[in-house]
Symmetry: D2
Amino acid sequence: MIIVTTPDSTEEQVQHIIDRIKEWGLKAEVSRGAIRTVIGVIGPEDAIRERPIAAIPGVESVTPVMKPYKLVSREFRGGNSSPVKIGNVAIGGDDVVIMSGPCSVENKQQITSIAADIKQAGARVLRGGAFKPRTSPYSFQGLGEEGLRLLAEAREETGLPIITEIMDTKHLELIEKYADCLQVGARNMQNFSLLKEVGRSKLPVMLKRGMSATIADLLMSAEYILAEGNFNVMLCERGIRTFETYTRNTLDLNAVPVLKRETHLPVVVDPTHGIGLRDHIPSMALAAVAAGADAVMVEVHNSPELAKSDGEQALMPEEFGDLVQRIRKVAEAIGRSA
Amino acid sequence: MIIVTTPDSTEEQVQHIIDRIKEWGLKAEVSRGAIRTVIGVIGPEDAIRERPIAAIPGVESVTPVMKPYKLVSREFRGGNSSPVKIGNVAIGGDDVVIMSGPCSVENKQQITSIAADIKQAGARVLRGGAFKPRTSPYSFQGLGEEGLRLLAEAREETGLPIITEIMDTKHLELIEKYADCLQVGARNMQNFSLLKEVGRSKLPVMLKRGMSATIADLLMSAEYILAEGNFNVMLCERGIRTFETYTRNTLDLNAVPVLKRETHLPVVVDPTHGIGLRDHIPSMALAAVAAGADAVMVEVHNSPELAKSDGEQALMPEEFGDLVQRIRKVAEAIGRSA
Amino acid sequence: MIIVTTPDSTEEQVQHIIDRIKEWGLKAEVSRGAIRTVIGVIGPEDAIRERPIAAIPGVESVTPVMKPYKLVSREFRGGNSSPVKIGNVAIGGDDVVIMSGPCSVENKQQITSIAADIKQAGARVLRGGAFKPRTSPYSFQGLGEEGLRLLAEAREETGLPIITEIMDTKHLELIEKYADCLQVGARNMQNFSLLKEVGRSKLPVMLKRGMSATIADLLMSAEYILAEGNFNVMLCERGIRTFETYTRNTLDLNAVPVLKRETHLPVVVDPTHGIGLRDHIPSMALAAVAAGADAVMVEVHNSPELAKSDGEQALMPEEFGDLVQRIRKVAEAIGRSA
Amino acid sequence: MIIVTTPDSTEEQVQHIIDRIKEWGLKAEVSRGAIRTVIGVIGPEDAIRERPIAAIPGVESVTPVMKPYKLVSREFRGGNSSPVKIGNVAIGGDDVVIMSGPCSVENKQQITSIAADIKQAGARVLRGGAFKPRTSPYSFQGLGEEGLRLLAEAREETGLPIITEIMDTKHLELIEKYADCLQVGARNMQNFSLLKEVGRSKLPVMLKRGMSATIADLLMSAEYILAEGNFNVMLCERGIRTFETYTRNTLDLNAVPVLKRETHLPVVVDPTHGIGLRDHIPSMALAAVAAGADAVMVEVHNSPELAKSDGEQALMPEEFGDLVQRIRKVAEAIGRSA
């Protein structure tokens, strides 16, 4: 950690800063410049990361040297990746995995028909919401346990493992009975109670980036889950909020190579929510693969205009089939498979 | 709702759109332009707000005419405000109410001393966190029930009603035993399970705006609480996330007059988190009052450099006392009191 | 254009709106709802786009139906693309064109050596700045005419056509003597005097998206150039400003498919400035091609740590050569060449 | 400047960094930690600010210690402010100055009538655009020299000094003949050619913050003007671009106390463009004064619905008169006058 003093800091203030550092068990290395003094703090930075050093009189800025995340960092795995398994599908290896399904589970016919279609087209994981986070209290809120049951039936018929969203700590036990993977949505990325709870689950977790979460915030939220003992975590880029209004969100593909560098966790991209415009989802899915994503998640519906949620951004099964073919070509072009 | 078709939409597509609108029980008024067709949907817009109309082939854009929020809208109260009471303190009337206290409750001495200081200075509500949402799992997470107990003791000694944050649906019953007002934090603004739960509480709720939440999002989240029957809701602007890095967040005072126009709920401003720089908090608190805020919430600590959280942005009690005096003058200048 | 009135608008106000519309030569179609009145304006929207209709008492919202851009719109070309030629290199056809070169021209040895290297590796257009927009007045501001002369010499030696930035209307004549293509930088995207000036040039223009420009803003700025008669315009996505601080900017690849849909102009992507981190530029370049970019522009320097500008984000010639090979594979995977 | 190495940096890389620092004439102070090495650079930071140190192999991060701006910094004036005079009106002293006028000069009757009205109400500087930066090439672009002439006539009649926008280096001489103060608009904040040109003028300059400019960017752009010798510069906050769509821009009042701390230059706030909604401009003007602004600029039109630009956000003269009264009360409440 590097502390820089204000131009008008007094000698007593500088000494007080040094004393505090020593009190906390670290060493201070002091360089006095013509205008400001620079104090390098030597020793384990974690010990003082939480201290409000900037509140000490005479301090102008405090710059950490170490990253605040540990368990999720690539260094923690010695530079290696750590693939995650959903059922028997490994994410984070050479294969680019395609996950698909409807936004919400609506009824048996809908979910089993879509599951069969996407399986046929090449998807390897089935998604579908039973508990839905909706902006409006008057919108369809999901079928709850009935939705989970229907998902399990679709798994029975197709063999596809299932991923579904958890919104409340109270639902963990229930969802664990049915699902193969838990999803924590963008709006709950900093619901720390929920993060701790899924950190105690045996199931793998896909953590979606919040709409205004920096990459560092996302990693810190993942750190919560690993800190509770669950290392089977995937990170999902799904669009951030910017000033652009043409697209629903701004899918931030820059996060893909950055995350691959910073963490050993697999990286998933969700172009559906990311750009939010049906016609442009395939382009963004291909770009995600070229950028290095380990998996892509794309919403499909067999009758978008009658969907109970997000119909505007669902692909039709045949469009999805076409996209899978194109993804395979791009994956091969960069030396992977799909 | 107004539907505009694409330039290349066919007559059949237009007819299909009209048929759907009739199916849903509304009336379509069609204006055929040279290039695009405009379809006005007449009737209760709520009936079709959730329909994925943009997914219907031939549709270019869908523009709602009605606001998506109802219970929170100013129109719902016939243009009047609806003050909320925390204990016996009314927020949303002529008085500008000042709330204060430390970020976290740390120990008995700390909270009772600060409570006495801020009461003396002119604060009318005591804040303090027992359950803390922290970016890092390694940071101080709050004292939990012990913190609530200490808050209640500080209320006993000072008479100040207390507001504290709830982070998990499981904690509602516990917190209700101690608090006078619940706070839903920015990171949980779209934790819809939590919103429903506090909507069933007898306590008033202060809902903070999420870091990337639009004003409309904030109103929709409040709508969740009112829809469950709890109309004692205050909205709190506490800074949004922008590209600016000098300040911790960008306190968006524009939201104050906009909210006062759109909703009957009282508006609170939290300059402490909003700008996040101790020296500049007083300026923003004064600006908040001038902009029309019904209350301001300012963090105070008696020993900022030893605080367990947010010490960098806490005022000292004497600085707070000085600020209260200045707030009173500005409040009077705009015809209110404080 | 669709005008919606406020709930409390009076009959006289509605009539006044209708009268204004008629005065302006258009037709008003009025639908009176229970709460608001909706007025559809029939006729050429351009005639009233600039009118401050929202300033008329009783108006709640004004929604345009037509796009504000004309000459740049895809419809204007009947849905076709219009490739642009820099020297004899066509951009916007089946080939994905690779442009490269240093940030700034520094001296003869530097520019001719880099030009030879990138030509050899597969680049087809040479970039290099002679007039540099720098955040600080104390930074290297470019060699001016000397830089242009050196660029022309590098063209002589390699046959690569050159693109260079224009920052001031006063420099047009000078730059036209040397360059094959003008670049208008992100910071000048809404320098309307400059746009008009380059609109009167015979040279093609590459217009970069401003850091906070929406896609619609970018198209409107291009419209300025076309409106002056110069239709040889390319648009360049180069990163927008968001809250993310890990990357220098947020390269917005969502803009690629959107622009390809909205306009007939070719789309270039600049991953160098877009992500601003040397190690991650190749991933973003590949993603740009997969997303559908017609060209990519990548900065190369033969001695980045001694570069006079942007050394942190320049690739070495051998890294660039490797990237070109990978771009070719991805281009082929999506049915193009490079 | 503080350089931190990557965890895997070699001893040779560290030595190479130290050698470079010495080559550049500075001293390196090296602290070897368990994982990373921290190198403090001692000496005048300006000498190496422009060096691409991050491009040197083994470097993980580079943190400047000094501010990049000099002439504009508050320290440069020993902590004092430096008021600017427009005609005989001083901005930056105890008085809060109110500037007003229409967006564009439209004709003689319009400008002289508005000028008389605002003078009467209490405005002390007249604004009005003769060269207008408009998003669309089809919008009214201003009257040019004729507009300047009309402004000068309005000054003749009212005695109010005038401020008007310059968009092109070619127009400086012309505008200098008529105006008392130059305005550089938000879209030209990083038009460095223009900044240098106005830096050579004898007239004072009001520099508006760009829509995506950080506070540091704004100060660096001002530095360009001072570096050319013109120290009569005011900075103007006029709204930044965020994700919020209810308001036209997000007026960032946080910038006011921050700028007052960082620079000796006066700070102006433009709530008209900042929030962009007529009804809410007064609230934001009052908040700007409470936050510490030295001047506010508010647009007024005598017939907003017929205005040639920005009619939606112009106050009527009587609304403006009322606002001036309210501003005076708030100014007094914080110990200033208006």
